[in-house]
């Protein structure tokens, strides 16, 4: 549902002046499930700041009424017939698994609740 995303903004600062703090980088790293070391955070924050400064140039373009483009040749209604196709064998499915058990992928205990 649309409301699901409208939580409090974890990165509360104006877009016009993009600066990204070490804490914000840490928060983003958590969202992206990457464990960054203190050294990485120290190194990354100013770099990202610099990159954001450079890319923020896009906001200079007045584009209020410009429609967004996602693909070069616009396609619509690309559908597949509802037909069953052969998939992978169980051996193929589990061949790459770090661990498996009872024909299932075995993973460490899952914390928290189903989203």
């Amino acid at each position: 549902m649309a409301e699901d995303t409208s939580g409090p903004d974890p990165l509360d600062h104006p877009v016009a002046d993009p600066t990204i703090t070490r804490d914000e980088v840490a928060h983003l790293a958590h969202l992206a499930r990457i464990d960054l070391t203190d050294a990485e955070l120290d190194h990354l924050a100013p770099q990202l700041d610099q990159i954001l400064d450079a890319v923020a140039k896009v906001s200079e373009v007045a584009a209020g009424d410009i429609p967004p483009t996602s693909h070069a040749v616009p396609l619509t209604n690309v559908f597949r017939a509802d037909q069953v196709r052969p998939g992978l064998s169980v051996d193929e499915v589990l061949a790459g698994a770090p661990e498996s058990e009872q024909q299932r992928f075995r993973v460490p205990r899952i914390l928290g609740e189903e989203a």
């Binding site: 649309a2 939580g7 396609l75 209604n77 169980v90 009872q102 024909q103 299932r104 460490p108 189903e114």
Partner: protein, 503 residues
């Protein structure tokens, strides 16, 4: 730790507060293949046997939309009186969870395929059946997740688990999420409205033929949102979202519970926390899950691997024209055709037996008889086996056939029950069961005559009464004969033979 509060009784709660409901229903479509790949969607297959690079989220694999799922989504939207988007897209809902192979769910965000609809549901109230309009916010397409099995600790539960096992057969099964607008004005009927809405959706989806709608198998799953406010004129209160309330009865109970719980919180001068809550079928309570304050930022963006969907108006109109009769109209028509009372009809619908009774009647049975078998005999057996009526291994045509045997006096009601036993036990068709079990009523006079003579000889005082003109006393002798014949006698003929001999 949240402080525990005594619940406020339901009646007290609703004397003080006005409830506002919201229902989110996830429906698994019964397409042959998944939403974005050609894997089958059969329920209950061996783990990880219905997967491919696409639904396993292997690097490089790409989704392609199942056209039949789009068609089903549009038909559902139309049946719910929604507008159908002229142009819409899928979006990625980004969050990490091991049952989701890509760590994003391909769903729809701000461009649902169907939006702004309504549907009228029949609500059972103390004043009889009332019609209640539920407004539909949207119906959108998405994919289901895999299933996790938590091992160690208390079996199957997430807490205390040592590790988890993942089966992705269900990952990618097409889902339609149907979201209501806030349902206001239900008042004390809120639990009944919630139940009636879900029952109504089930009937509607079954009629459309788009889903098996088996709540116990998870092909229809319900989230119940509820908030309270001091009065209907007050702004909406903070809501809780109770997840996975997966039976009609539970929907009703969960609403009642949340009304009482929130009323207690508010009465104690505290605030309701916006959070997801878990429904516990066994204890009938909800418990706190994830608070929305700590919710993920889903970082939605349009799915770049899929093309937009732009259903032509001609296609939409074609689908609209082919919609089945809506449930209410259908019910009214059948009730008139069958000459059934409101009460009888309500029982049939309430038991989820409408299509079964309809098919039984279509196969030649009398409507009352069809109702009787499905709602008494078969309902009891379904209950014993803990399955839905439709899941019993007997077809409406077979029920009609058994009733046909009763109609021509080949079996009586008591023997008919044994025929049901045989069919349900897989012994064959009703005819085969009758023959194999030797269940046919005996109306052969020589066989019956012996039993009658024996009964008269053994009960001289009763016989005397009948001779003396008390014909009603013959009933006792009939009982003796029937017992002797182990029920397999034509009671009418037995009576005739007794009267013949004694008068």
């Amino acid at each position: 730790m949240t402080a525990t509060t005594e619940l406020v009784s339901y009646d007290e709660a609703l004397a003080a507060f006005d409830p506002v409901l919201g229902l989110e229903v996830h429906v698994e479509l019964n397409t042959a293949s998944k939403m974005f790949c050609g894997c089958p969607t059969v329920f209950g297959a061996e783990p990880n046997t219905q997967v491919c690079p696409v639904c396993l989220g292997l690097p490089g694999a790409l989704p392609v939309v199942n056209g039949a799922a789009v068609e089903a989504a549009i038909r559902i939207g139309l049946a719910l009186n929604c507008n159908i988007a002229e142009w819409c897209r899928f979006a990625r809902k980004n969050y990490f969870y091991p049952d989701m192979p890509k760590n994003f769910q391909t769903s729809q965000y701000d461009e649902p395929i169907a939006f702004d609809g309504w549907t009228d549901v029949a609500v059972d109230t103390v004043d009889g059946v009332e019609s209640f309009r539920v407004e539909i916010e949207r119906a959108h397409m998405e994919e289901d997740t895999g299933k996790s099995l938590h091992v160690g600790g208390s079996t199957g539960r997430i807490h205390g688990a040592v590790h988890s096992l993942l089966d992705y057969n269900r990952a990618g099964v097409p889902l339609i999420e149907i979201v209501t607008k806030p349902i206001e004005g239900a008042g004390t009927n809120a639990p009944a409205v919630a139940r009636a809405y879900v029952a109504h959706l089930r009937e509607l989806l079954l009629g459309l033929g788009v889903s098996d709608v088996r709540m116990e198998q998870g092909s229809l799953r319900c989230d119940v949102n509820l908030s309270l406010r001091p009065a209907p004129s007050a702004p909406l209160g903070t809501r809780s979202e109770t997840k996975n309330v997966n039976s009609l009865r539970s929907v009703e109970r969960a609403v009642r519970y949340e009304v009482s719980r929130q009323a207690a919180v508010l009465t104690a001068g505290r605030h309701v926390v916006q959070e997801t809550r878990h429904w516990h079928e066994d204890t009938g309570v909800t418990t706190s899950g994830r608070s929305k304050e700590a919710a993920e930022d889903y970082r939605y963006f349009p799915e770049p691997d899929l093309a937009p969907i732009a259903p032509s108006r001609a296609w939409v109109e074609e689908l609209r024209a082919s919609l089945p009769e809506p449930p209410r109209e259908r019910r009214a028509r059948l009730q008139a055709e069958w000459g059934m009372s409101d009460l009888d009809m309500r029982d049939v619908v309430g038991a989820g037996a409408l299509p079964l009774v309809e098919q039984t009647v279509a196969a030649g049975a009398d409507p009352q008889a069809a109702k009787k078998w499905w709602l008494s005999e078969l309902a009891r057996r379904a209950n014993e086996r803990n399955v839905e009526l439709a899941e019993l291994p007997i077809t409406p045509a077979q029920v009609a056939e058994i009733q046909g045997l009763v109609d021509v006096n080949r079996v009586n009601d008591k023997l008919a029950r044994q025929v049901f036993d045989g069919v349900l036990a897989g012994e064959g068709t009703p005819e085969e069961v009758v023959v194999a079990r030797g269940l046919e009523v005996v109306s052969d006079d020589s066989a019956l005559g012996d039993a009658v003579d024996k009964a008269i000889a053994a009960n001289p005082d009763v016989a005397e009464k009948v001779r003396g003109g008390k014909v009603a006393a013959a009933g006792a002798l009939i009982g003796v004969v029937m017992k002797e014949m182990r029920g397999q006698a034509d009671a009418g003929r037995v009576r005739e033979l007794i009267i013949e001999r004694l008068t």
